[in-house]
Amino acid sequence: MEFRKVARYAGVLGALGAIALFVEPALAQQAATAPAAPPPPVPNKGDSAFMYIASVLVLMMTVPGLALFYGGLVRTKNMLSMFMQVFATLCLVAILWVLYGYSMAFTNGGSLNDFVGGFSKAFLKGVDSTTLAATFSNGVYIPEYTYIIFQMTFACITPALILGAVAERLKFSAMLVFMALWATFIYFPIAHMVWYWGGPDAFGNAAKALAAATGDAKAQAQAAYDAVMADAGISFKWGALDFAGGTVVHINAGIAGLVGALILGPRIGYGKEPMPPHSLVNCMIGAALLWVGWFGFNVGSNLEVNQFAGVPFINTFIATCAAGLSWVIVEWIIKGKPSALGMASGVVAGLVAITPACGFAGVMGSIVLGLVVSPICFFFCSAIKGALGYDDSLDVFGVHCVGGIVGALGTGLLVNPAWGGAGIADYTSKPGELVAGTYDMATQMISQAKAVGMTLVWSGIGSAILFKLVDIIIGLRPSEEKEREGLDITDHGESAYHY
């Protein structure tokens, strides 16, 4: 038991990434004061195989998964629009990612390093088949391309999530411009804040060097140690836990969606005309593919397929089951019938909530998290949305943002070793031995809350500015007549079906 507790963590906040080039200058520098460098690590083929498939799975979550989940929920006349917006967002952001996004997220940003990286790897400069990225285990590396690809799929799906909130009334042209801006000014920086750090070996080596240093070398080693610790995003330094992107992905996209829905205003006829999902079948296929792909998302966030990979896997499975059932039961009690849309919503809410927690919680804790998240999201999607009257078309806020917050806070509780959680790893006190650090609930919950708050503020305000900007430049909404006719015909000149 002891072993597991310490091992499944993620440094301080370091959920996903933590790329460290094997021959990164900063590290080389410290290596000078450390014992002779070990031979370059060789990536394990099992890890690589897993990470590539995980990336494929996250792509499948986006297309066709998310496109179907969202597309099934809109009216027939906007079905293709939904598909096109998801596809185009994916294509656009992937290209930005290799041009400068990866660099903005995962390099040192100099004086702005707390918030954003720099451009030293723009156009993937210096990346080739031999460069490596750190994982969360000392001495274990994966090819840097593998890491770039896996992270790219995250960068692509996150903005696409926003589309559900503004569905059926956002012009395609405006959407493209908004997405380019949003990826650049919101996503890449937040990814940097949360996921950029030096990696376990950098931490461990610096700590070892410091411990070994005596006399004059002590001060130098301390400085080197401090430099390594400081070379990370601000959220990471706060020590919040987020295994697979609850904040960076779900809270981030969810709050941006709410802001978009408020700025665009409700769809014509909202609250007056019925707007039932045009194909709940497509919606459920989409939900199923999201679930299937989410194992790439969550388990891939372990960055290697070591023994601990089973933990995020089983938690992702079970929390989702619990949340699916729990939404359906709440609905049964309150509305009189358990609905298929409720099942789909619960499944997604469960996946969202377990995302930050999946590597930290115990299996029973995951069941509880799943049971809890659905009623809360249900309440936001029906009561709160109804009361406030905003038109978050497909409940991106109610499911992703609210579910993400439940998950982020739940993570702080469920990591508790006393409750079957994995505890928090300590990379520095006994480097390489995976000893668990101390866990204090209050401290941890404050860290979690800070990370949540930071994301809500940065993404909320930033998205508002960007939406307004695009509205001024090219206008967000189509004319009333076009919106009535549907975006499929007016934006794309096509109809989804000709049965």
Partner: protein, 112 residues
Amino acid sequence: MKLITAVIKPFKLEEVRSALTDLGLQGMTVTEVKGYGRQKGHTEIYRGAEYAVSFLPKIKIEVVVPGAQVDKALAAIQRAAKTGQIGDGKIFVSPIEHTVRIRTGESDDDAL
């Protein structure tokens, strides 16, 4: 000639069709429609939002018959389509002044 239009419950289509063909009526045209009437619809709920669906799926049968056969046809339809439950539907009779069979150009009763 008269046009008999019957709005019936969907699962009664086969019975009505065979009742009519038993009378020797060899042609009819069928449309899927939605009906509003005394039969109450149902409520659909989508993530908390409830919609009263007042229209129910019905089948509309249109059959043009020679004047002499109207009564027999009406009786046949009524018999076949009846369940005795609310929502069984209606039959309407209206005049047809002229009929043409496109293939042959025959007209009126010959065209039926």
